[in-house]
Amino acid sequence: MSRVAVFRKEHFNAAHRLFNPDWDDALNEQVFGKCALPNYHGHNYELEVKVTGEPDPRTGFVMDLKLLSDLVRREVHSRFDHKNLNLDTEEFRNLNPTAENIAKVIYGLLRPHIAQEKDLQVRLYETPRNFVEYPA
């Protein structure tokens, strides 16, 4: 076994708000605080994509990082960059765009395009101080 992890960083920015449509405004504000404010706020999201596997003996690559970059730009950046996650994306029309849910959605978008024998993990920074990882 000589598994190696490779990483690619990408970034996008977006507006969002956190709220549960089944709750009234008071409960949303109690649970989500300022994140529930109606006119949206936003973040610079920093994304780290980790692919783990055995380097290909012919190339020495676990995965060509240029191809991984192109994949993230096509599947993630084009969907979410400079968008309102609640209003402009199919993925979050009925899903609260928390960092947790965004990381799970990004994993789901990338997973079909990465070789089955490789492991995939995404780490998403919502701010420089708040970040999540999926799968945990």
Binding site: A15, H41, G42, H43, E46, H82
Partner: protein, 136 residues
């Protein structure tokens, strides 16, 4: 003369849009930043004041007080807000980082004691883009 800097942060939604122009012209000039439903950023703010250290304290200015002034007069108005919609001092202005830095300068200036001078507002819109305003 010593320069003292306090770093604070906030996040917000905005868009770049000139209402006197057509949608096409806005898209041409502002690109994705003109997205109708907003996008957003984690802003990083550096406020620099200058002065001579007080002989009794050694401080140019008590940095905790500087932090409180920034939080009360700037961060509370901006954090988790929509810059175009929610912020009194940005109303009827383009919400560019340039104009926001100038707006922050004007908000802070009346609240600083006479013995320190406001020197610079340095505002990061993303980790890769920032502006500086020196009040001139």
């Amino acid at each position: 003369m010593v320069y003292l800097t306090r770093n604070e942060h906030f996040n917000a939604a905005h868009k770049l849009y000139n209402p006197a122009w057509t949608r096409e012209k806005n898209d041409e000039v502002f690109g994705k930043c003109a997205n109708e439903n907003w996008h957003g950023h984690n802003y990083d703010l550096f406020v620099t004041v200058k002065g001579a250290p007080d002989p009794d304290t050694g401080f140019v200015f008590d940095v905790k007080k500087l932090s409180d002034i920034i939080k009360r007069h700037v961060i509370e108005k901006l954090d988790h807000r929509n810059l175009n919609v929610d912020v009194d001092f940005m109303r009827d202005k383009f919400c560019s980082t340039e104009n926001l830095a100038m707006g922050i300068w004007n908000e802070l200036l009346p609240h600083l004691p006479a013995r320190v001078k406001l020197h610079c507002i340095k505002l990061y819109e993303t980790p890769r883009i920032y502006v500086e305003y020196f009040g001139e």
